[in-house]
Symmetry: C2
Subunit: 596 residues, 2 copies
């Protein structure tokens, strides 16, 4: 099963919804003209479709394996990573001074989606490396930047994030790994880290582990965590590799999905201590790690979108090919199953949710570019606040929807979907990690409630809702059954979201358990309403283009129909979610622990 | 991870909601006294928990395997099946004259749920054998009954259903397997059948295949299909085994889940023809197969419930044990994750949906008993109609909910859930077959729309809704926040369901594609509302018991809280579903095939 990047939709979103032409005006983004961006995306689509996508199913069948401390990755991964790095794809959004392409996040975003559609297990090595680069760019010393960033961007080396320990999953306060200062500016690191993605592999010369650990006098909890660079091979002053460091992969996990991606247990310091150097200041490690995590969370959202797109394409191909049963309205003989209304419903559900999540994520990427590069500080700040509100929604909702989409993808295949050879089941298995790693959906929802809603009294949420209302007003100007339906559902959806924002702001302090009983539902509601908003915006642009006789008419009609589907089938869930949030905590919290 | 049968809830539902005392009055059901039933369920719980449940995860890790036409089942399966059969569990609901226990379906139903909680892959052999027994009881000749049924009930032999062919999945009109009469009353069978559950194994001496095939002069389509008995080993007149028949297992599938259950490709007649005997009359095979399928569909619904219960128990155990992060309301240190509101929400969602589906299924089983054994024909007929309305809902909704429950079960485990050793992921994989086999959810929904709703103009659906309304009136008598909330959501839910029934009845003939675009949503809505109805009935009984100081107060309070949860979190989805059904077909059907 091949992957064909949905370039038409990607370019539509980049240009029409995320306003590339505005981003292109920002200082440092001048190269990202619409023509250049189109060329970049076409080139990336080619590489992802031709080189990376064919490795996806074989990598699942013959995963990476561990032997005696070494990990051999799935066949073809090493060569594909070489091609990926040599073509500059690791560096799309990173600074030109370290060998990157220096393009806006809005351009890197579709590239990352494509890579994940092609192969989530493969894409992870780049995603983690991106995170390491971001952390070093923000908090590294000049020397650390010089020494580490360029080889990470060139793909000579890769990066990892070492947070989790056996007793500390989501709860970083419980981190126990120790960092003992050696008096020479280095530290010796001792401890065990688990769930380390690409913690060991054979695709690059060196691996730069970014590791959370505690110094001897550190305060307890999250305020006593520092961040260290612990390379697999020490790096000499001239950049050449030195001795093997005392960090070893003692096993990799046997997982439900993303099997080609080695998930390592790393042992630090069993043979005298792993040598590490501090990033930034002591006890500020969590802050730096959040930089990596926020970038990575957005990236995991893109993984959900990429996986959903791939599952959708595979289901469509099967549904067009598989002939089975007569049409419900009568037909001479059996028809392709895409003709059956329920198959059609599932395909539209897959498509509509994927397009909505894509639009929301790309719009978020554009906001991030404005937040980083706009000359006006107030504008930067305002865009940053909206972007940061959206990050947990993009991560949480895109991944939750990708589970449903992957599930529908199997279902469209019927019995064939349950057979591993078909490949649909792999997406169903792979998807399940996305709502867990880089913070479960509940962790995203905590962030959405606490830092993103309550802290500013709902101000940013309300500012977004005001924009939704503006779109509703525009919808009212189009006299048409589709737009009437879209508007009615968006109006109901935004009303539900506003009521929930008010509820969250009013009750989190006084009754936190009641609010957090509905926090994931709030995140889903935000995804549904804001995704529906983007689909409504897309429908309006499509309508304008149709009226003007501009562009691809079939694409524009499909966009309106897809927006209509989203409104009737997804936005229509909004009020039920509201009810569950504002009234549902009693049922959630009534039982004693012993009653379970 | 052990399995403890939820006997308290099972007995509550059997006695209070499905009215065992009424069933116990029926002719032939006199043995099923409440005390006897309790003893039977306790014994079954012991067997399932101690013998079958421990084989579940090992069977997933070391699945059945094929070698040279033979299938070796997972370790322990053979011995466990011997114990299962010897203790009489295959025969719970089958006639005493053939060695069964002759107990009502209402008693067999919790036994089957328990077996599936323990081990779905194992339970399948009995489920298929049940289907074969049902078909032979209905349509077999006296000689066929004598020869085959007793060894099937005793577990000396097992049964299979052979419907699917490579080109014919859901569409039995496309069956091509040929049956050529030999002039001696036998037929030679030629063809390939796929997806044959336990089509080959080593757990019994013989396998009785029930096979759909076409005789030479048969009319095309489903009206030309006949049903044949094709034993693996021919059976002599004295019941001893004769020659090996010409049916051979050429491979078994590599599947997403239920890996211990061998899914066979069977080749009939490659060496001269497999010898078969006709069941009933020629060309009526589909009708007989539907007898098996209806029993099997109900049974697959129970698989969903059983799987959901097991996933729930495993998630609860983990959530009580795993300590991680402080409480949102503040706590001295990290707490068990069951304390976190979102974990609680997921556990309640798992619990509430499982209990609701259990109640609906058991009530259905009781109706089936009334339909078969009540002395009054009109009563039999009325109960049969309601039972038959419920079968696609029990199958479709219980299995769809089991996917969500298994998904939440993984999520409660966080990163550990993605590691196969934990076992939660197995449920997620196993669940995915349940919405596919014995008719996908869409096939169930077609049945619900066509045969069960439109054919009688919605009369049965309305009669059920009248019963729901009666429950709503009873709820109004209880002055209490929980019951007020339950009633409000049930009133809204039943209104939504009634509107949809009206829509389906009014539009199926004129605009079938529009109705079938929402058919699965109608099935889900029916499940949500009727499941919610049963939870409301359960809450009323619990309230009465609390008021009377009768029974287990903690259980009764938990039941009310769980019903409240179901109302606020599940019933609250009803109106959104209604909107998607009555208004959502435009979006489903707008695109041309080429636009996908």
């Amino acid at each position: 099963m091949t992957y064909n990047a949905p370039l038409k939709d990607m370019l539509f979103v980049v240009n029409e919804l995320a306003n590339l032409s505005e981003i292109n005006q920002l200082p440092g983004c001048e190269d990202a003209t619409p023509d250049t961006v189109e060329a970049v995306l076409e080139e990336n689509a080619k590489f992802c479709g031709e080189v990376v996508a064919p490795l996806n199913h074989p990598g699942d069948k013959e995963p990476s394996y561990w032997h005696d401390g070494q990990v051999t990755t799935s066949k073809g991964f090493k060569e594909a990573f070489r091609g990926f790095a040599d073509a500059g794809w690791q560096g799309v959004q990173h600074p030109a001074e370290f060998g990157g392409q220096g393009l806006p996040k809005l351009v890197a975003t579709p590239c990352i989606e494509m890579l994940n559609s092609a192969n989530i297990a493969f894409a992870l090595v780049g995603l983690l490396t991106d995170g390491a680069i971001e952390a070093l760019l923000t908090a590294g010393t000049a020397e650390q930047k010089t020494r580490f960033i360029e080889p990470l961007i060139s793909g000579k080396w890769t990066g990892t994030m070492n947070l989790t320990e056996p007793q500390a999953g989501s709860d970083l306060a419980a981190v126990r790994t120790r960092a003992v200062p050696q008096g020479d500016g280095t530290y010796k690191i001792f401890g065990t880290k688990i769930f380390i993605t690409y913690g060991e592999h054979d695709m690059a010369e060196n691996i730069i582990h970014l590791v959370l650990a505690r110094t001897p006098d550190a305060p307890p909890g999250v305020k006593g965590i520092s961040l260290f660079i612990v390379p697999k091979f020490m790096v000499n002053d001239d950049g050449s590799l030195g001795e093997r460091n005392d960090v070893h992969c003692v096993s990799i996990e046997h997982k439900l999905g993303i099997k080609a991606s080695p998930t390592a247990v790393l042992q630090f310091g069993d043979h005298g201590g792993a040598i590490g150097t501090l990033v930034g200041e002591e006890n500020r490690g969590l802050e730096y790690m959040f930089i990596m995590m926020n970038a990575a969370r957005f990236g995991v959202g893109l993984q959900g979108i990429g996986l959903a797109e791939r599952a959708y394409q595979q289901a469509v191909a099967f549904a067009k090919e598989r002939v089975q049963s007569r049409a419900v309205e009568g037909s001479a003989g059996p028809v392709a199953v895409i003709h059956h209304p329920d198959v059609r419903r599932m395909l539209m559900s897959m498509r509509a949710q994927t397009e909505a999540a894509r639009a929301l994520a790309y719009v978020g990427a554009g906001l991030s570019d404005l937040a980083h590069s706009h000359p006006d500080e107030a504008t930067r700040k305002a865009n940053l606040a909206v972007y940061e509100y959206l990050v947990p929604v993009i991560k949480g909702w895109s991944t939750e929807m990708s589970e449903n989409v992957a599930r529908d993808g199997v279902q469209v295949h019927g019995g064939m979907g349950f057979i591993e050879e078909t490949g649909a089941a792999q997406h169903y298995r792979d998807a399940k990690i996305l709502t867990i790693y880089e913070g479960t959906t509940a962790i995203q929802a905590n962030d959405l409630v606490g830092r993103k809603t309550v802290r500013d009294g709902g101000a940013v949420a309300k500012s977004i809702l005001a924009q939704v209302r503006a779109t509703e007003a525009q919808l009212a100007d189009v006299q048409d059954a589709d737009f009437t339906a879209i508007r009615a559902q968006l109006v109901a959806g935004s009303a539900a979201l506003e009521a929930v924002v008010d509820y969250v702001v009013a009750n989190t302090k006084g009754d936190p358990r009641a609010v957090f009983a509905g926090s994931v539902l709030y995140l889903k509601l935000a995804g549904v309403v804001l995704g529906g908003w983007q689909m409504a915006r897309a429908a309006l642009v499509a309508r304008q283009k149709l009226d003007a006789g501009d562009g691809d008419a079939a694409f524009c009609r499909a966009k309106i129909a897809t927006a209509r589907f989203f409104a009737d089938h997804v936005l229509s869930q909004a009020d039920g979610l509201r009810q569950a949030i504002v009234a549902g905590s009693a049922g959630v919290l009534a039982l004693d622990v012993e009653q379970f």
